[in-house]
Amino acid sequence: MSDPIIVSIVIAYFILTFAIGVYAVKRVKTAEHYFGAHKLFGPVVTSIAAFAAIMSGFGFVGGPGLVYSQGATSLWITLSQSVAFGLSWWIIGKRVRLIAESRPIATLPDIADARFKSNTVRGLLAISLVLGVIAYLGTQVMAGGYVVSGLLGVSLETGIIIIFGITMLYTAVAGMAASILTDFFQGLIMLIAAIGVLVLALVMTGGTEGLFTTIGQKDPVLIDPLGKGTWMLALMWYFVFAIGNLGQPHLSTKFYALRNYKDLKWGAVVSGGSYMISSLLWIFVGYAALWLVVSERIPALAKPDEAATAFLAATPSWLAAIVYAGLLAAIMSTSSGFIAIGSAALVRDLPKALGKELEHVKQVWWGRVVTIVLTIFALIFGYFGGYLVALLGALGWGYFASATLPLLAIGLNWKKATREGAIASLLLALTLNIVFLIYEKVLGFKLPYGIPSYGISLIAALIAMIIVSLFTKGAAEDEIDADIKAAMKV
């Protein structure tokens, strides 16, 4: 059983999160509120929620683990975020918010359909989202379960039920509104955790001088700007995560949640700045764990992913508790957003793509049912799926970026982007991601020079959108609906 202080703070965190999530039901008056939190929140809540949705558990465990084992290579991912949120706001923020003023937008397929006037585009995007959501949630099941199990001293199964049961319930009750409000709370926790970790890591190690000098004397590669990876990996990571940010559905959906157009103004700074602060945890936990090992204060870690727990074991209980709460917050905030997106895709987007639509009142009811069913399915898949989970889990950031980026970044800013271009880019993104999945995970091959395959998929999908659009005409220029054209002109 864990330290009682840690247990108390973690339990208090769960109770507060659940209460906030359920409270959000007061804001839900329409299906658009439920699925998309359409124009429900102000800038601070939405911006902090945006950063919290993007910062997943990987930033707390996987990231520091990679720093521990590889040095700076993985930092090219997190450091890209100082520009990623800005690029998102510049490229699609205004467009999505303007469209939300003219139409009851609640999902990304809603936006894609508004622009390209195509049930095929809507349907393909919805399918892509559901596949990505199940894959993502599947990977979080065991991770979340192990964390709760270790913290509270319960079985793995009980841990899974606690963390995902709570997430499922508040998301079922209030949909995306609950997701955003709890994301805001969870984002604040992550920020407090990150600042505490930074201060403690620097005090513990004697500042950056002590930290990096000690590590560098053991292995200079661990303190250089590349680390043990390749340049192609590091640079492609920077690119994919800088531009791919706006293609993440759990970010881009936040723009139509803004109550007022002026709320766009400081959003990028608040989101980006918040992420930058929280990424200090990724950077300094990893290096501090390395320092502890190199300076022989703790034995070498059996697995790199133990870096975070090894560091936290050397910190005061109250800080460790806050960081663990931050880790749970990161897992739950991203998961709730994906559950809401998946539910919307199944209840609202796929039926519309097939020419059917539920009455709005029934959409919310079915949204709740599907949220529960989807979460339970993801839990079963994540728990029993084994190899398949690891396989599909590789569909992540790059998969979403390659599917949605061409539609949003190019489609909402270029009148000559066509329906055929959108369909081509979606099909290519889906195909390439699955082909690379088989190539790497089933056949065991790797692309040369450490190139991450989703970088190739993303670039190929963008090029496909441009080239196919140059030779086709569907839903382009004069065929664009007048209100969409007006939003693209401002």
């Binding site: 003023e101 990096f212 560098g216 200079p220 700007p225 441009i466």
Partner: protein
């Protein structure tokens, strides 16, 4: 102008693909800096041809990225596999340029400038009101996509 930008984005993406498959990582780095700068201009410009401060933002962002990458590559190569002959706050000089320098400097044109330019360039109140007026006319003429 927007058409030309899209083509430029497409061409640089293709060149990035070629650079990646041939492990020309320095070329990839500079092409990436160019590509991201083009995306910034693409997002920051208005209408089909109104470029305004977008071009300066893109230019400054490119200089920051290309400049920082150059210094990072240089010091990485100079001290490859060895302890650097000098450090900045204990940090490898190339590492220091990556974090915190490039991390903070790139934030200024790409993220901070969004807030600084919002009222005057991105979405002035006048533009918003004109847009609402236009929407009203569209609804009245029943051209808008129907509420579903």
């Amino acid at each position: 102008m927007r058409d030309k930008l899209v083509l430029a984005i497409g061409v640089t993406l293709f060149l990035m693909l070629l650079a990646a498959m041939t492990n020309s990582w320095k070329a990839f780095g500079y092409l990436m800096a160019l590509n991201l700068s083009l995306w910034l201009v693409f997002g920051a410009m208005k209408g089909e041809d109104k470029i305004g401060p977008a071009i300066w933002l893109g230019f400054i962002a490119f200089i920051i990225w290309a400049g920082c990458l150059s210094v990072i590559f240089y010091y990485w190569g100079l001290f490859k596999g060895t302890l650097p002959s000098f450090t900045i706050g204990g940090m490898h000089p190339g590492f220091f340029v990556l974090f915190p320098l490039m991390w903070l400097l790139s934030f200024i044109p790409v993220t901070l400038c969004y807030a600084l330019l919002f009222d005057k360039w991105i979405l002035p109140e006048e533009s918003w009101n004109e847009y609402l007026e236009h929407l009203k006319k569209i609804r009245e003429s029943r051209e808008v996509g129907e509420y579903e």
